[in-house]
Amino acid sequence: MTPARPDDDGDYQLGLLDAAWEQAAQHWRDDMARDFERYHWAPLRQEFRSYLDALARLREVLGAAERETGF
């Protein structure tokens, strides 16, 4: 299977993660769940979002560099 490109379908990937967490959170409501969300879930989501944003900006600049220097 070809690994998904996070820049191409990052929001889709994020949606899968959110759906899995929401499904689990419906049946998991204790202190461990809150700790898991705080120490594992939130950092994962935040770093993935930051990575996707950085990758999008990078690809925008690389594309512009190619276009603008295409003499």
Binding site: A20, M32, L44, S50, A54, R59
Partner: protein
């Protein structure tokens, strides 16, 4: 033992999603870095080409100016002067082109640096934090299944 209020199937689903996500993303992080390397190579090739053209324009301008100086001792040639001004414009244009490529090289390096920071944090998370989260879920799943077995045996 801490009581876990959770559904084992829901936790298993979450753990599988995290494992699949980690597997799918681990190679993807390296691809952004690969795109930077390709762009660097292409820009360096363009800079090299622009430098070569600039050197050629400068050499032709120098030769033209020398010829004009020599001609100035004899009858004045306005045609020769016109040729030199055209070459001077070509030199200025070549300098601008090279500077343009250099500015884009700097812009790419700035963005690459920003990207590397985000990619490094995400890679660290994929390689260390995420496996720990999966292990944590597995421990909980194992505990829940053990509790279920005890309940089933007692009923």
């Amino acid at each position: 033992m801490t009581k876990i209020h959770a559904d084992v199937e829901a936790l298993r689903g979450l753990r599988e999603t995290l494992a699949r996500f980690r597997y799918d993303q681990r190679d993807a992080v390296g691809r952004g870095e690969g795109e930077i390397e390709v762009a660097r190579g292409e820009l360096e090739a363009k800079a090299s080409s622009a430098r070569a053209w600039l050197e050629r324009c400068r050499a032709e301008l120098e030769a033209c100016q020398e010829a004009s100086s020599a001609a100035a001792d004899g009858p004045a040639s306005s045609a020769a002067m016109d040729d030199c001004s055209g070459l001077a414009r070509a030199v200025a244009e070549a300098e601008e082109r090279l500077e343009h490529v250099r500015r884009w090289q700097q812009r790419v390096e700035q963005e690459a640096s920003s990207f590397y920071g985000a990619a490094m944090r995400f890679r660290d998370l994929l390689e260390s934090d995420l496996p720990r989260a999966e292990d944590h879920l597995l421990d909980m799943i194992t505990s829940l299944e053990a509790a279920r077995r005890i309940q089933a045996a007692g009923s």
